[in-house]
Symmetry: C2
DNA sequence: GAAAATTTGCAACATTATAACATATGCAAA
DNA sequence: TTTGCATATGTTATAATGTTGCAAATTTTC
């Protein structure tokens, strides 16, 4: 349907990864931020699929790499990547996913498939403005909006139908 | 402004608590569910304010009560209360807050003040339908929607202004 | 090249949550 | 009324997630 639906369909994922890394380099350069080898490696790992990855999953792969890393290494890299809008934390899963709208100034909305774990990030202006209005009606000043929708992606709905 | 804004203003909170407990008893009776002493006590503790409480906070108070409880006791009680729509878990805070719309069939939206920690639960049909549409547009079937808005409540905005 | 700022390494620890299994309690049918 | 079943609780241990604090190394700036 939309180009955004990519994660739910087979695609050349290597292209996703290299685009993400290229974007990251560009964004960091623009912001005078240092995309060090560790940070870049963590970003690459997060991007290894469209399924969110836990900090300790990342840590495990770093260990396989031969990188003798401890939790703070990973959390610090993830903090950095979050601050520069390169990854998002999915609060309901305690895990992290690559941002598919890096650079754009956005409030993400996440569609999370409970079956296959893939996550689709959307920019939904209608949702954002509805939330904004609801907050205004209570004189609340929003700073950070978390919208996570768990359910079944199209592919997994179809699979379930075939039972 | 709206009646919902209660948590952000001084009010007779005892009334909140006793109403919540009465509602809970009614709902459990209706559902043939057993609101045991432990469960009721946990609910009461969660309701001690409009600030979300962590499981281990609850545990600590139970300990003061003389109740020699372990984590599973608390988590089981919280699971029960969640299943019956009596409390909500705030994913972004790993903590729990009393449901102010118990019984109503609702998808909550939470306004969470980062300053005073109070949480206001709203039912925002406009938001719900916007989310629903965004999901449909991707052929995604939503099952569970988490919307948490962190920011500053009216009172804390005013306080900040007085600096 | 020296001083300052940033990043990383590392050890310990804090917080949040669950697994597995035993015991107890309430409730319903014989 | 007691037997049996489902539900609820107790208990111990452990897993999973995240943080603090300080020292060493690296990069940047002057």
């Amino acid at each position: 349907m939309s180009a955004n639906a990519l994660p739910y369909r087979p695609h050349n994922h290597d292209a996703c990864v290299s685009r993400a890394l290229a974007d990251a380099r560009a964004i960091c350069q623009q912001n005078n931020a240092r995309l060090t080898p560790t940070r870049e490696r963590v970003l690459e790992l997060i991007w290894q699929s469209h399924k969110p990855l836990g900090a300790y999953d990342v840590l495990a792969v770093l260990a396989e790499d031969g990188h003798n890393a401890a939790p703070p290494t990973v959390y610090r890299a993830l903090d950095f990547l979050q601050q520069h809008g390169l990854v998002h934390r999915i609060a309901s899963l305690n895990s992290f996913v690559g941002c598919t709208h890096a650079g754009e100034n956005h409030n993400g909305l996440f569609l999370i498939c409970r079956q296959c774990s893939n996550v689709l990030e959307l920019t939904a202006p209608a949702v954002a403005s509805a939330v904004s209005e609801a907050a205004s009606a209570e004189a609340f000043r929003p700073e950070d909006v978390t919208i996570e929708v768990a359910g079944l992606c199209p592919r997994c709905q179809a699979d379930a139908g075939n039972d």
